[in-house]
């Protein structure tokens, strides 16, 4: 029996090659996308779930409570960890982690010339306890060595890079030209699905040599974090409830402005909480994961709808077979099984094609998503499971209805080929399905267009400064002579238009906020503001616009202030002019006057508001040089910068970055989403069009006679075309009315993520409907044209 079904099925498929191809390809596309999204979701959900005690590990966070809202920080003060150990002896493990991101590594080996590497990620100061909580395995040495100062452990990758084919243990490296370290251990490379992407792990105690303020409870830095392994009988909530008293006990140097509380965040939540950050920089909200899942689901649904549409459309062709089989004694169940089997065969075929497509395209997809994911079909039980479930669900979803319709044919009618559209499952149902398909496609298009518009807004919004042709290079040290010589030498080249040394470029992920005091009358007001230390040429280099007063004069220390409009407002003043001459003070330094007010500029990404900002000179914190170059001679200018820089800082590795690129990186997450949506919207449309094509073909076949008669009566090809177009134009419009409000609401929700955002205009919706009409029109038109041009005599002969 089965063999008989299989033969009919296979022969049927190979006979109707176009039908099979449309079906298999459409399904395969849908399955490919959902498989990709499944792997993506699985990857995101797998972050740090492989540690044996993951459900008992937590991070202690800080929330600053301010008048204008809460500020979430992942950091704690330096003495936090040791104090925890002392006051909570029941905690199983406590480890402080100070992540430095990058570092300059110098390999000093005997009399060889030193080799330098700039490691852009993975440099961390860490305590041995960390390895009792997290399952990262050691190949040589052991975590205990990290209890000693100046010890460092390397991952295999770095060990191999620094000391190719040598035993790294006992070798010496220098970090940032400051710390001499001895390699005491080698770790297995950390997996890609961890938010702790460490490569070079220095014993935490070594931090002392960096001159950090190890005793103050006043400041937190987001990269200095504490991880705790709770005993089994202590809940996160319970632990958290005891932290206020703990903080009260130790935080004695309070200044009264900052109120803060410490919260406990379980490890499994860290990867998904966008309020906080992770070392890997890859926080993915649950909402985004849900969006991925929905897109995957919708793509599968469109693909299934295609299938149902094509299969029921084909029903007429198959009515004879159904009739014959019934006459020969088949009962309905047997026929349902038969047709379901056929769907199953097509689905299996599609799954194979999808797996092949994934093999081809998955790496590309991972690159677009900037994730280190891999596709391993047989090494991963979950993938096999997913494919099996997809096969079954898709077979049922898309096979059941057609099977029900086909098997329900009255044999007597079926044999006379009198099974009409009505029996073929109702044109209205198929119309409904096409509407759903187009609604999905259009919703995705609207989403894509809105994200693209927002991205465009990011790129083109006036940031309040001129970001063009600015190259940033790091300043490895703040030696006054060196900085002066850098400035003079760089400006000697005609390609360099201007130059500013500062704490950070005008727009940067690196912000520094502090408390300051403002004396108005007898009262002393306390506020929090960003500080941006920069030399006097900052204003000219970035083209900042002064609204009142003047730019401050050059100096090595804090002499005068320039503030932004937001700070004027914070002070409660009504115009920039009023701010001139006001005195501000912070860090217990003598008060200095405000000499100028600058127009608000975006110091951070457009996700966030422009905060009050104080600008001043302060040479000892300059970390970056911003060089405005002449783009006509960019190459020469860059070479000049490299030559000068390398001569002044011979112990460092030269690297430069265009400010444009830095700013573009702020929106990497959105860029990824945008790319993803573009691809999937495209595929949804493609699948929809495949189905539409099938449906029109079917309608054309159904109406061959009608078209013949109409042509005999004098209808032109255009009239026939209109006949088809009218039908589908209606469907698309209905789909649009469904998709537009849903997509609008969803995207508005997304736009809420940004303080600075576009207004969704009519244009997006108009473009969507135009795009759908053009694409669907081309699909329908092509097929309809063919039947419109058929010789009517031929069309009528069939009856």
């Amino acid at each position: 029996m089965f063999k008989n079904y299989l033969t009919t099925t296979l022969r049927k498929l190979s006979r109707n090659k176009a039908y099979t191809a449309i079906n298999v390809f459409g399904l395969a596309l849908g399955i490919t996308c959902s498989l990709m999204l499944f792997l993506l979701i699985k990857y995101e959900l797998s972050f740090d779930n492989f540690h044996a005690t993951a459900d008992r590990i937590c991070r202690v966070n800080t929330i600053y409570v301010r008048a204008d809202g809460e500020l979430h920080d992942t950091g704690v003060p330096f003495p936090f960890g040791p104090a925890l150990r002392k006051d909570f002896p029941e905690l199983e493990k406590v480890s402080m982690v100070d992540y430095e991101f990058d570092g300059l590594i110098t390999i000093v080996g005997g009399d060889k010339t030193p080799v330098r590497y700039h490691e852009k990620e993975g440099v961390v100061f860490i305590e041995p306890d960390f390895f009792d909580m997290f399952d990262f395995s050691w190949i040589a040495g052991n975590p205990k060595t990290l209890a000693e100062p100046n010890n460092v452990a390397l991952t295999e990758e770095l060990a191999q890079k620094f000391f190719p084919n040598e035993n790294p243990i006992g070798k010496r490296i220098r970090l940032d030209n400051k710390l001499d370290l001895i390699v005491s251990g080698v770790l297995k490379n950390f997996p890609t699905n961890t938010d702790f992407p460490f490569k070079l792990l220095v014993s935490f105690i070594t931090v002392k040599d960096l001159g950090r303020d190890l005793d103050s409870w006043q400041n937190t830095m987001s990269n200095l974090q504490t991880y705790v392994l709770l005993p089994e009988n202590l809940s996160f909530k319970n632990f958290e409830s005891r932290l206020p008293a703990f903080l009260e006990k130790y935080w004695t140097d309070k200044d009264g402005v900052n109120k803060r509380v410490h919260t406990v965040q379980p490890l499994p939540e860290i990867h998904f909480d966008t309020r906080y950050g992770v070392f890997s920089g890859n926080v993915t909200s649950k909402a985004r994961i849900l969006a991925f899942a929905l897109i995957g689901f919708f793509l599968i649904v469109t693909a299934c709808i295609n299938f149902v549409n094509l299969a029921t459309a084909q029903a007429i062709d198959r009515s004879k077979e159904v009739g014959v089989r019934k006459v020969l004694g088949a009962n309905r169940m047997q026929l349902i099984r038969h047709f379901m089997g056929e769907t199953f065969a097509i689905t299996v075929l599609a799954v194979f094609v999808a797996v092949a497509l994934n093999e081809l395209l998955f790496q590309r997809f991972a690159e677009i998503m900037k994730l280190k994911m891999t596709f391993d079909l047989f090494g991963d039980a979950a993938v096999i499971g997913f494919l099996l479930i997809i096969t079954v669900v898709v077979s049922l979803l898309s096979g059941f209805y057609p099977a029900l319709v086909l098997s329900g044919f009255q044999p007597a009618l079926a044999l006379k080929s009198k099974s009409t559209t009505k029996q073929g499952g109702g044109l209205s149902l198929r119309r409904g399905l096409v509407i759903v398909q187009f609604a999905i496609s259009q919703a995705l298009i609207i989403g894509t267009l809105i994200i693209a518009a927002q991205m465009d807004y990011f790129r083109n919004k006036d940031l309040g400064f001129n970001k063009d042709a600015i190259v940033t290079v790091a300043l490895p040290n703040r030696d006054q002579l060196k900085l002066e010589s850098l400035r003079t030498q760089l400006l000697q080249n005609a390609g360099v238009k201007n130059l500013s040394l500062a704490y950070a470029s005008a727009s940067s992920g690196n912000s520094w906020s502090t408390n300051y005091q403002h004396k108005s009358g007898d009262q002393i007001q306390r506020h929090v503001a960003n500080v941006r230390f920069a030399d006097a040429s900052y204003f000219e280099t970035y083209g900042l616009q002064l609204l009142a007063g003047r730019a401050y004069t050059e100096g090595d220390t804090i002499k005068e202030f320039v503030v932004n409009e937001a700070l004027v407002r914070q002070l409660g003043l009504s115009s920039p002019e009023e701010a001139i001459g006001e005195y501000l003070t912070f860090w217990d330094a003598p008060a200095k006057p405000i000499v100028g007010v600058v127009k608000n500029f975006h110091m951070v990404s457009l996700h966030d508001e422009i905060n009050p900002c104080i600008m001043a000179t302060n040479q000892r914190v300059y970390l970056q040089a911003s060089v405005k170059i002449n783009l006509q001679s960019a190459q020469a200018a860059l070479q000049h910068i490299e030559k000068v820089w390398s001569a002044i800082f011979p112990e460092n590795v030269f690297e430069y970055k265009f400010l444009d690129d830095t700013i573009a990186e702020f929106y990497e997450g959105e860029e990824k989403m945008s790319q993803l949506l573009k691809i999937f919207a495209g595929i949804a449309i493609l699948i929809g069009c495949l189905g539409l094509f099938g449906l029109v073909s079917f309608m054309a076949a159904q109406r061959t006679k009608e078209i013949g008669v109409r042509k005999v009566l004098g209808a032109s090809a255009g009239d026939i075309l209109a006949l088809f177009s009218k039908e589908f134009a209606g469907l698309i419009l209905v789909a649009f009315l469904l998709a537009a409000p849903i997509a609008y609401l969803a995207m508005n929700d997304w736009l809420e993520n940004f303080v600075y955002r576009i207004n969704v205009g009519l244009g997006v919706f108009l473009s969507t409907i135009v795009v759908t009409f053009v694409v669907a029109g081309a699909t329908v038109g092509y097929r309809a044209m063919r039947s419109a041009l058929t010789n009517p005599a031929e069309a009528l002969r069939y009856e």
């Binding site: 029996m1 008989n4 033969t7 009919t8 022969r11 049927k12 006979r15 004879k320 077979e321 009739g323 014959v324 089989r325 019934k326 006459v327 020969l328 004694g329 088949a330 009962n331 309905r332 047997q334 009255q410 044999p411 007597a412 044999l415």
Partner: protein, 225 residues
């Protein structure tokens, strides 16, 4: 064998009922070769389909081998039908995707005949109809007469007590038609009850009883007991 009593069949179109069969009473004995004749639209095929359980009357009683068909469930009817009735059509209705061999096998599969037995039954029928050489061909590689031969072979392979033929020679030339009718005659002689629908007096002459339908009623009867 077959007893039809007050059979009505109509199609409703809003408030208008179009009668296809009206008040048909008919008895058919085992071993008869009955011909149903009548002009187009007189209800011949519908009657045949009702007898073959492919269609249901709107009213009336139908007893087949003493079982009240009108009271049976679809499943029971399907059992009766597949065990006792073979169908032959004007346009053969072979399954295009299957070879001659596989077409012959299909009814056996639905009757859950074992593989070995199937093989011998098919070999037997191929031999009897002298179409062994054609067994691996597809329907569209055969002439009309040959296709109808396969169609009949497929109908009789399960040894049905009743063979229903709907204008079996309608698409054939006269030589092929004669061959097919001779075959029916032979099957009847071997014990099968046959009911055929035809326009042709000549074909009718192969049978032993004729009923004439007119506007859904039995107008007259010839032959028989």
């Amino acid at each position: 064998m077959i007893r039809l009593k007050n059979i009505f069949k109509y199609y409703s179109n809003k408030f208008l009922k179009t009668y296809v069969l009206q008040d048909i009473d008919l008895d058919v004995q085992q071993g008869e070769f009955l011909t149903i004749m009548g002009p187009s639209g007189s209800g011949k095929s519908t009657l045949l389909h009702i007898i073959g359980m492919l269609d249901e009357p709107n009213d009336g009683e139908y007893h087949f081998l003493d079982q009240p068909v009108h009271k049976l469930t679809e499943k029971q009817r399907s059992e009766l039908h597949k065990n006792y009735i073979g169908f032959v059509f004007q346009s053969y209705h072979l399954i295009d995707e299957l070879t001659v061999y596989e077409n012959l096998e299909t009814p056996l599969l639905y009757q859950k005949v074992k593989a070995a037995e199937r093989k011998s039954m098919i070999a037997d029928i191929l031999d009897r109809f002298q179409i062994v050489a054609k067994k691996d061909l597809f329907p569209n590689q055969l002439s009309g007469g040959q296709q109808q031969l396969v169609g009949i072979a497929r109908a009789v392979i399960v040894n049905p007590k009743l063979i229903l033929a709907d204008e079996p020679t309608g698409n054939l030339n006269s030589a092929q038609g004669e061959e097919i009718m001779t075959l029916f005659k032979k099957l009847n002689a071997e014990g099968a009850t046959i009911i055929q629908v035809t326009h042709s007096e000549k074909n009718a002459s192969y049978g032993n009883r004729i009923i004439h339908l007119m506007d859904g009623r039995i107008a007259r009867e010839e032959g028989g007991k």
